[in-house]
């Protein structure tokens, strides 16, 4: 029996959802992270608490929110606080176990660029900017990223570091005494990358049918491969059905 076919987005979301644990308090972004959290809540982590940087704690959205400030997040939530309180009392204080961040570039040490391509003052491409990702990357216990695996998205060094991964390696992050543990995994449509002992993103698992060479070809630095390189389990029928019911129009899943 072969695995059901799925889109690259579905593959990423299912694999990201599997990283979430029962009881995690997750600072959710819109789009794919939101789907991953909702999927995990419906499957193995019903007690996962979804927190949104707009100040919503314990959201139970009845529909897929387009923005992180959608009215469906407020209805029936456990608590709503101000943005200042969200960042201070939850994130800076240390109540957030998982944060998702996203951007245009992820580099060798898991640093993220969501600000500009090119020079900051004379940008080639002006991106939306940090939002909360500067703080999320610094202070959440574990940080996850999802991105299509393309060479321009995985440079050796970001043009601009919007939020800190391991900077120049674990010791440099450690020297900054940030409370969060930094990037725990990057989920792409080809593979899973995790930081090694030095904080360098390393190939730890390939999605079914993908080769090391394909991943290396789309990665801007010489990619280390874990000794126990795994192959991810293909998405199950249950995972895909549950996921597709969350985005019936395929807004994010393609």
């Amino acid at each position: 029996m072969s695995a059901p076919a799925c889109t690259p987005a579905e593959l990423m979301v299912v694999n990201a959802a599997r990283l979430l644990r029962e009881g995690d308090v997750v600072l959710v972004g819109v789009g794919l992270p939101n789907l991953a959290c909702n999927l995990a809540r419906r499957l193995h982590a019903p007690g996962l608490v979804m927190v949104y940087e707009a100040g919503v704690i314990g959201a139970q959205p009845e529909r897929l929110p387009l923005s992180i400030g959608d009215p469906c997040l407020a209805v029936g939530a456990l608590s709503i606080c101000s943005m200042y309180e969200l960042f201070a009392h939850y994130l800076q204080r240390g109540l957030i176990s998982v944060g998702f961040v996203g951007g245009a570039q992820i580099d060798r040490y898991g640093n993220l660029n969501a600000t500009v391509i090119g020079d900051y003052r004379r940008p080639k491409v002006r991106l939306p900017g940090s939002g909360g990702s500067m703080e999320i990357a610094a202070w959440a216990d574990r940080v996850y990223m999802m991105a299509p695996h393309r060479r321009r998205r995985f440079p050796a060094r970001c043009d601009f570091i919007t939020s800190a991964g391991f900077l120049d390696g674990r010791s440099s992050r450690r020297a900054r005494r940030l409370r969060g543990g930094g990037p725990a995994a990057v989920v792409t449509d080809l593979a899973l990358l995790e930081p090694d002992a030095q904080g360098e993103l390393t190939l730890v698992a390939l999605h079914p049918g993908v080769t090391i060479e394909q991943v290396q070809a789309q990665t801007g630095w010489p990619l280390q491969v874990a000794e126990d390189l795994r192959t991810t389990q293909p998405p199950t029928r249950e995972e895909l059905e549950t996921l597709r019911a969350l985005d019936p129009q395929g807004v994010y899943l393609g």
Binding site: A54, P65, S67, G69, P71, M83, Y84, R126, M134, R173
Partner: protein
């Protein structure tokens, strides 16, 4: 340093939005039109465009479509922001074009950085600290980011200076004629903006008697003390939303991408939906019944709470009445 405010006994601060903007928003002002996704005062933005304000510094965590429109209309000299995107959709193209072409100044923060500035302004403090984040490129690019030494541990903390907008515009669900306002749903940075600003324009879905406000004082996030003008503007927030009154128009946000990619299309949109429309009521009617129906909500009421009244006082009251 002293802030002027109206007396609470003032006959009321009710006025039209056009008059409030004329009186309280000046060329060159720093404006904070607040609301994190929720309660964004679009009607006020449109009125500012119609009145042709110039050289504004537009401060908002998320410029959203309201500042994309003000920038496209030529009202802005500078933008202060922490996330310049169309949430869940992509770029704010007018803003992005203006930055990429060097036509506008900008000053950039992370969300917490910008909100920290506003919180310091609200608290009357010169600055507030935040813990360092390890991401130094933005602090290097923006000289407002500084450091002080924590006198207890000897470590460095990041500090940000107070932001005190000349004028804040805040939309709320219900307010009394003095501007005492109940807000619910996502409250974002509304309270901090109200206290940080020198002048405050309040727009409200409903104007209610003071007794409604006084029945639940814990719900009053913005006190009339800091409000200069109160405007009754139903549907002020569309395409943003007012929790419990109308839904967010996500189709509009999705559709804005194509409109704002094309400067001509954007100009035509402004002509049709801002300049050719006299006020918010006309705008709302122009949206038409299908949009109204799409944004309608089913009720979901809060459980009320009892504030109680001491029996002796209650008896006293009854005896007197």
């Amino acid at each position: 340093m002293t802030r002027t405010f109206q007396t609470a006994h003032h006959a009321g601060k009710l006025t039209t939005l056009a008059q409030a903007v004329r009186r309280l928003v000046h060329d060159g002002d720093t404006l904070y039109a607040a609301g994190f996704t929720h309660l964004i005062p679009f009607a006020a933005g449109h009125e500012i465009i119609r009145q042709g304000r110039r050289d504004l510094t537009l401060a908002r965590a998320t410029p959203d479509l309201i500042y994309d429109q003000l920038i496209a209309a030529g009202c802005a000299r500078k933008v202060i922001f922490s996330y310049a995107g169309n949430p869940g959709v992509g770029s704010l193209h007018a803003l992005r074009r203006a930055i990429e072409a060097g036509h506008i100044e900008w000053e950039e923060y992370s969300h917490f950085g910008l909100i920290t500035r506003l919180a310091a302004g609200a608290a009357g403090l010169p600055f507030l600290p935040m813990n360092p984040t390890g991401a130094d490129d933005l602090p290097r690019a923006n000289p407002h980011y500084r450091s002080v030494t924590d006198p207890y541990s000897g470590r460095q903390v990041t500090v940000l200076p107070a932001l005190k907008p000349d004028v804040a515009i805040l939309h709320v669900q219900r307010a009394d004629p003095q501007g005492n306002a109940h807000l619910w749903g996502i409250v974002g940075e509304q309270k901090e903006a109200a206290f940080a600003a020198e002048r405050v324009i309040l727009t409200a879905e409903e104007i209610v008697p003071p007794e409604v406000i006084r029945s639940d004082p814990n719900r009053t996030l913005i006190p009339g003390l800091v409000v200069d003008a109160v405007c009754h503007v139903p549907h002020c927030a569309h395409p943003s939303y007012a929790q419990g009154y109308y839904d967010r128009d996500n189709d509009f946000y999705l559709g804005w991408d194509a409109i704002s990619r094309d400067p001509k299309g954007l100009a035509a949109w402004l002509e049709e939906w801002v300049f050719d429309v006299c006020d918010r009521q006309a705008y709302w009617e122009k949206l038409g019944p299908q949009v109204h129906a799409r944004l309608a909500l089913a009720p979901a009421w809060s459980e009320p709470v009892n504030y109680g009244r001491c029996s002796a006082a209650a008896e006293d009251r009854e005896a007197r009445s």
